[in-house]
């Protein structure tokens, strides 16, 4: 089941620069997308989300962009900080109440000082 794909297993960025994490999806029924951050030995922590009626959502250093025609979303972190080093998961869900999340494989971000 490859409905949500994160094609880059890892990304390394210099502190202060922009980190761009990408996610592609195939199911056109998805209408709500989320990014989670995960540290080792912890559960996923919600970071930011976007509804399919929008193309951008911003929260501090984090911005999510949605391109519905390309079925693509991205998470921008600027400026990147060493504490941002973690695994980032993209997730998607569709319109029903109690909707399950479909996760991508995750991208491990390393921000170097």
């Amino acid at each position: 089941d490859q409905q949500v794909k994160q094609n880059s297993p890892s990304l390394s960025v210099q502190e202060g620069r922009i980190s761009i994490l990408n996610c592609d999806y195939t199911n056109s029924m998805f209408d709500y997308f989320l990014w989670y951050k995960k540290y080792p030995a912890e559960g996923p922590t919600f970071l930011i989300s976007i509804s399919s009626i929008k193309d951008k959502n911003e929260d501090g250093r984090f911005t999510v962009f949605l391109n519905k025609s390309a079925k693509h979303l991205s998470l921008h972190i600027v400026p990147s900080q060493p504490g941002d080093s973690a695994v980032y998961f993209c997730a998607a869900t569709s319109g029903n109440q109690g909707g399950k999340l479909i996760f991508g494989q995750g991208t491990e971000l390393s921000v170097k000082p």
Binding site: Y32, L34, Y36, A41, E42, G43, P44, T45, F46, S49, S51, F89, A91, T93, G95, N96, Q97, G98, G99, K100, L101, I102, F103, G104, Q105, G106
Partner: protein, 115 residues
Amino acid sequence: EPEVTQTPSHQVTQMGQEVILRCVPISNHLYFYWYRQILGQKVEFLVSFYNNEISEKSEIFDDQFSVERPDGSNFTLKIRSTKLEDSAMYFCASSPQGRDNQPQHFGDGTRLSIL
């Protein structure tokens, strides 16, 4: 900030034994979920639960699995007869509503090791 708590953090069980994983969702949340992550693989949905019944379940959630909300605070996942392939991290999650831009909040997981 309220959080989802899971116990135990690590459970080691012999194959064929029953195991119960416990979760305390955030207190005003109405929807509850279990996910699992086998080592090196994606986080996978197992089951969602609302109003004291299962809302949706995945193919993974077969007759060996069950969920229960025995009181007003706990939410449990039971595996009746564990198999080696049940070894994984199991995450509980909850949300105040099922959708409407309300994200699911996750616990730190229970690492289940089947010997």
